[in-house]
């Protein structure tokens, strides 16, 4: 199967690139810092640490790891002419996208999984008095991996529709600013815009609608997926209370659906575009 051939070669190639491993090391280092910080606290809170990791990891580190690992996956080959070897053999363009996703996804998910697994013994050493909720921790780890995979899929997709290193980088950074920082954290993000526009017509936006719009970005979905494993008392404490009796589209499980859509939709669009690209 040619998809696997692409993935095997690409994995072999990319795992030897040191740059790819640097962000994972960074993620581990930050995790260490969090545990060390809690070790001096009088009442270490397991969910406090996880919340910190979701915040920092979700906003900065996981997108950074995934974008660095995958933004050049296809655009780099087009710029250097390596694509002529990749497509000079009987390999379809769809297989190139699939193979790249598999290889880069494997690198990122493996790195993060090691990092997340290391966190458990580290926590035991630094904060022995803290209780680790293993079930909740597993859900945190799984949603983090799903979130990372969504970013890898986005980066591979952007890479497939841009023809050069500089454009791929611009597209990756642009996506990060619009759909991460811009969508979820700036004071003029989409939910504020909707509120403002509706306000002009003398209407108020429903809380559920705003919550959905917030969750439509990968980062928003990842943040709101915390509902799946964080106790309500903790979410209330950090001011992220889910509305009571929420409609399905803002429940925790639907956040996973949104993350899955961020994997499937960009790849489908990129596949459609890349299959018609002129690679002369």
């Amino acid at each position: 199967m040619s998809l696997l051939a692409v993935a095997r070669r690409d994995f072999l190639d990319v795992r030897r690139a040191k740059l790819v491993w640097a962000p994972v090391a960074l993620y581990t280092a930050f995790m260490l810092l969090f545990f060390w910080g809690q070790s001096t606290a009088s009442d270490p809170d397991f969910y406090g640490i996880i919340w910190g990791l979701v915040g920092l990891g979700g906003v900065l580190l996981v997108p950074l790891i995934a974008l660095v690992a995958a933004y050049l996956s296809i655009a780099g080959e087009r710029e250097s002419g390596q694509i002529k070897f990749t497509l000079g053999v009987p390999v379809s363009r769809t297989a190139v996208i699939g193979g790249k996703l598999l290889a880069r996804g494997a690198v990122v998910l493996l790195g993060l999984a090691v990092s997340l697994a290391l966190a458990v013994p580290i926590a035991m050493v630094f904060v022995p008095e803290m209780t680790i909720e293993y079930g909740d921790y597993a859900l945190f780890a799984l949603t983090t991996l799903a979130y990372a995979l969504a970013y890898v899929a986005i980066a591979v997709s952007l890479s497939a529709v841009t023809g050069s290193r500089s454009r791929a980088m611009a597209a990756g950074i642009g996506f990060f600013f619009v759909f991460n920082i811009g969508w979820n954290f700036l004071p003029v993000r989409p939910i504020e815009m909707i509120e403002f526009v509706l306000d002009q017509f003398g209407m108020t936006a429903s809380e559920e609608l705003l919550e959905l719009v917030y969750s439509l970005s990968p980062t928003g979905a990842y943040m709101n997926a915390t509902e799946l494993y964080m106790p309500t008392r903790f979410l209330e404490m950090v001011g992220n209370v889910p509305p009571s009796d929420p409609p399905f589209y803002i429940q925790g499980w639907f956040m996973v659906v949104i993350l899955a859509a961020w994997i499937v939709v960009p790849l489908a669009l990129a596949n459609w575009r890349f299959s018609k690209a002129q690679l002369g």
Partner: protein, 325 residues
């Protein structure tokens, strides 16, 4: 059975008045088992044609088939039977030479002897080194090795000698001749004519997207009268206009103290030397077979770099008159 059949192949980049016509109704048939030279100056449309054959780009109009498979709709079948040495590539820095060949085997779903191929292309010593430190020539050898994996029915070589030293070019020629003997069809593009002459059964000359000649090299030479050239270095250059009087001398040019005469038959070369010897002291003679350069020049209107001045033209150097006294 035809290996490659190209009919009315047309490729335009852009549209409107700015459109660039890279290929203009190309018709070409490459027979199975022949070594076919695809010639033309840079920008003639050679790479465009190859890119269409491999489905890297789509043709604007026309069709092309490889062993009967349409290059657009049955590209996978085409690429299964083809080995490609592309132009303007980079190898994968962090993979070893052997891993490059293993990738091609993996992608083609076949097994082959990587060690033997690396030996063929002269990379045995570097087999297990990452290619990041490879020279341009080593990269070219590796790319040729990748094209050879699985002993494909058709070998497409786009400017195979670029970056190679003379030994490398000789190696490439020998490999091509070996493959041709085994019945492999070789489609070989080049803008260097000398390397085509030694290996190709037939050549096509492409210029500005159009086919301007298609035949064996011998037939092309015969049709237009054979051409050979002689370079004579002399102590003082005489006014060379008299040389044009000889039958068989086609053009004469002067470069510093060297007279270059392009002749249509060998006997004329002797006349040129004798004539010059009567008028001045000859210090060196180089008889060169630039026949292909000449042919190329005729079909494409491109001046080979050595031709600068024509005899009798106003630019003839002043010292020519001194010499004839």
């Amino acid at each position: 059975m035809t290996a490659i059949e190209i009919k009315n192949l047309t490729k335009r980049y852009g549209s409107g008045p700015d459109a660039v016509q890279a290929l203009d109704g190309l018709d070409l048939t490459v027979r199975e088992g022949e070594v076919f030279g695809f010639l033309g100056p840079n920008g003639a449309g050679k790479s465009t044609t190859i890119n269409i054959l491999l489905h890297f780009i789509d043709a604007t109009d026309g069709t092309a088939t490889v062993f009967g498979h349409d290059v657009g709709t049955e590209s996978m079948a085409v690429r299964s039977k083809t080995g490609v040495l592309p132009e303007g590539f980079e190898v994968f820095d962090r993979l070893t030479a052997r891993e490059h060949l293993e990738w091609v085997m993996d992608a083609k779903g076949i097994t082959d002897d990587a060690g033997a191929i690396l030996e063929t292309v002269g990379l045995s010593e570097a087999a297990d080194r990452q290619t990041g430190g490879f020279s341009k020539g080593m990269g070219q050898r590796l790319a040729l090795g990748m094209a050879l994996v699985g002993d494909p029915d058709l070998l497409i070589l786009d400017e195979p000698s670029s970056g190679l030293d003379p030994t490398g070019m000789q190696d490439v020629r020998n490999i091509i001749l070996d493959l041709a003997e085994q019945g492999t069809t070789v489609f070989f593009s080049s803008h260097i004519l000398g390397e085509v002459e030694a290996v190709c059964d037939r050549v096509a000359i492409l210029n500005q997207g159009e086919l301007v000649a298609l035949d064996t090299i011998e037939a092309l030479q015969e049709r237009d009268g054979g051409v050979e050239s002689i370079e004579v270095t002399v102590e003082a250059v005489p006014e060379p206009a008299g040389l044009n009087e000889f039958n068989g001398v086609q053009r004469v040019s002067v470069e510093e103290d060297t007279v270059v005469a392009v002749c249509s038959d060998t006997a004329a070369k002797v006349d040129v030397v004798r004539w010059l010897d009567e008028r001045t002291t000859v210090t060196d003679i180089i008889s060169e077979d630039t026949s292909l350069e000449e042919l190329f020049h005729r079909y494409t209107g491109e001046n080979p770099a050595t031709e600068q001045q024509t005899a009798g033209s106003p630019e003839t150097p002043a010292q020519a008159t001194e010499g004839s006294q």
